[in-house]
Amino acid sequence: MISFDDYIEKFDKLVQKYIPPKKDWTPPDQAVYGPKDPFRVPIKEGKELQFNAIKYQFKNHYENNNMYNSFCKQMNITPSDIKTYDDIEKIPLIPGEFYKDYPHGRDFAMWLANIFTGHIPQVKISGKNPNFDDIINSFNASGFVVAYSSGTSGRHTFIPRDSRTFNISEYAIAKNSITMAYPVYDYSMKGYLLMPNPFKTNVFAGKVCTIFFNAVSEVKSAIDREINTELIKLSMTGSGSFKAKMIQKVIAKMNKKIVNDIIKWLEKNEKEKNKIVFAGAPFILYAVTKKLIEQGKSFDFSDRAAILTGGGWKIEENHRMPLEDFRKRMQEVLGINTEYCLDLYGMVEGNGWMVQCQEGHYLHIPYTYYHPMILDENSKPLEYGKWGRFAFLDGSTFSYPGFIISGDKSRMLEHCPVCDRPGPVLEPEVTRISGKEMRGCAEELRRMISMDTGDD
């Protein structure tokens, strides 16, 4: 069996272009790219890396972001207040809602420019009345990587990353997953992306998977058409316009095709004895296995396949599937080992990709650059073991203050109850706090695709 160090070195070589030259590393780069196994760094060392990265970014946003600077002044906190590790929880947190409260049209472009930290390159936007997609594409043509949550409620979370910050997010999602999947991953794997094609969308959950194309030898995308805010709006609102109805029809047709394509792909890879990996929305695999069960078919991919899921566990309308049942089903129908069926938790607002361990399926937190917190109703941090709102200080975001209160409810434990990794974990399942909005990109996708798998 390959040693862990060789395993990660091989991966690092494949994704060289996401890693800045070592001579340019700042404390945030050190915290993300430095550790071989981000989940096994001794706590003391991890805290040091985390503190240096967060302190660096706090100073950066305080000095280079007017919006955040005045917010900190209002809260009466300056970088000189952050002296030791115990001080970091004083850093002012921005409610995630803030990134959903944007104007339309040309004002949207100015809003994006105003929430951005640091130097803004020239962005040319054409048209009298540009929509969100026009503006984002213009920004991204100038070196930004603006991405957004799919926003079931019609409101997106827009986050302005620069390419450096986006590279970190991509690197971290891949490295954290591959670390936990040790030793099953290797470059020869054939990948199936259960998300929109990253090259055809600015939806964060799709776009952040660009690195998948570098990490494995071949990738197919389940959703291969362009996905933009207009299309999402038309497919979600169910508004009765002719165009919306057309789109919904096309999508329904696409769904059947996705399931059939995946089954064909499984058959081919079984025949060729290939290693495979699925990454993305669990409901698509649920639909695939449902069809396979109906057809009385099954596969045996044991020891040569992995499933990395993310984005929520609503499998069908009014049906949440317990993760354990999902893993069991994947093993029964596809033969994939339950320990290689891992869920991820992350969000467009940050680069902190949490991944389940094989042993206990708890969500491990990448604590070398990311400080997790659970808050009570007065936004005060709670002790381990208490339920509350998930919040974080992300020491890896250069282009916007990644100090955020999320809308998700969870519980944090100081150590994993099952495995021996030293850092903190979240409960295996994270849920949305209020019904203000359905959370999770998989849920958003599921709705958009309105998968035709109901008991019809």
Binding site: I94, A109, N114, I120, K124, D376, S379, R389, I433
Partner: protein
């Protein structure tokens, strides 16, 4: 017969501010209508194949009036009958007694009346009418509902009054109610704020306590805001009052129902569409509350979010962002 003195004393003549707002509202409504004659033709009727509004069933019982029920016959300010708000009507008296009039403390009674009106009555856009009709129907505009609350309080010998203001709605609410109908939207947009909104106030233990009875819990949940309780103001949370427009009134003034009457005559389709949208919103809110594990648990979680401060953003123009026509 209403005497001139009564008209003057009880404030039936609109205050200067109300008049100003009325004129602004009427002007902007006429302008909207004139500029949208094409839309208007379509909106005049609910289209035959579109969904119809079905009024929800009343959620509470009104007991029979009996002669031994105590009636408040005071002529003191805030305790006496006013326009559309005669608390001596038998249905009002009977319902007030069911809620514990003259038995419970003023606060307990007002809280009970608040709960009944806010949570068991439903918003429906329709012209103003007597308070008994409103209680009978179980629905009405926020002014019907405030009137119901005020009448119940006065029937129990508790002083009560109106607090009226012009408002700016929060976006979520705007999206579900105002945007539901194109004509209402145009009207709203052309004015920048919706005509008038209000709350009730009851005089409890020497203080005026606010009662925002308009939105029931389900509607608040649909908008993602906390479920407000007796004593909690809607201003700043649910509505943003236009500065300088807050007025305290003993009575609804004359001419107040003009706008809804007008809307009903010229655009009944608009009214129906908004009412359908309100019911859908309630449906959605009910689902949200159920998913959150009940109203209390929903409320706690949302208030958790409200506690956090958000940065203010002043959008400055940046020369790097270039718009090309």
């Amino acid at each position: 017969m209403t005497s001139i003195r009564e008209i003057k004393e009880k404030g039936y003549i609109p205050q200067k501010m109300t008049t100003k707002l009325f004129i602004a509202g009427a002007f902007s409504l006429s302008k909207t209508l004139l500029l949208n004659m094409g839309d208007l033709k379509k909106l005049r009727k609910s289209l035959p194949n579109s969904e119809r509004y079905i009024r929800p069933k009343r959620e509470y019982e009104i007991p029979k009036f009996s002669k031994d029920m105590k009636i408040n016959n005071s002529n003191e300010k805030y305790l006496r009958p006013t326009l559309y708000c005669d608390h001596r009507e038998p249905k009002v008296v009977a319902l007030a007694h069911k809620l514990g009039a003259y038995k419970k403390s003023d606060r307990e009674f007002a809280e009970g009346a608040f709960e009944l009106v806010k949570e068991q009555m439903t918003l429906e856009i329709c012209p103003l009418n007597s308070v008994s009709e409103t209680l009978d129907r179980g629905t009405g505009t926020c002014f019907h509902l405030i009137t119901a609350f005020i009448a119940l309080c006065r029937a129990a010998g508790i002083k009560a009054r109106y607090k009226v203001f012009a408002m700016n709605v929060i976006k979520a609410w705007y999206d579900s109610v105002v945007v539901a109908d194109p004509l209402v939207k145009k009207w709203y947009d052309s004015m920048g704020y919706f005509m008038l909104e209000g709350e009730g106030e009851a005089f409890i233990d020497g203080k005026w306590v606010v009662a925002h009875v308009g939105p029931k819990a389900e509607r608040q949940a649909a908008a993602g805001i906390p479920i407000t309780k007796f004593g909690e103001d809607s201003i700043g949370r649910w509505f943003f009052a236009i500065p300088g427009t807050i007025m305290i009134m003993e009575s609804i003034p004359y001419g107040f129902s003009g706008t809804t009457k007008l809307l009903k005559i010229i655009a009944p389709g608009s009214m129906e569409r908004v009412n359908i949208s309100i019911l859908k919103q309630i449906e959605k809110g009910r689902d949200i509350i159920n998913k959150a594990g009940g109203a209390d648990s929903y409320d706690r979680m949302v208030r958790m979010e409200e506690g956090a401060k958000k940065p203010d953003i002043k959008i400055e123009s940046k020369s790097q962002i270039v718009f090309e026509d």
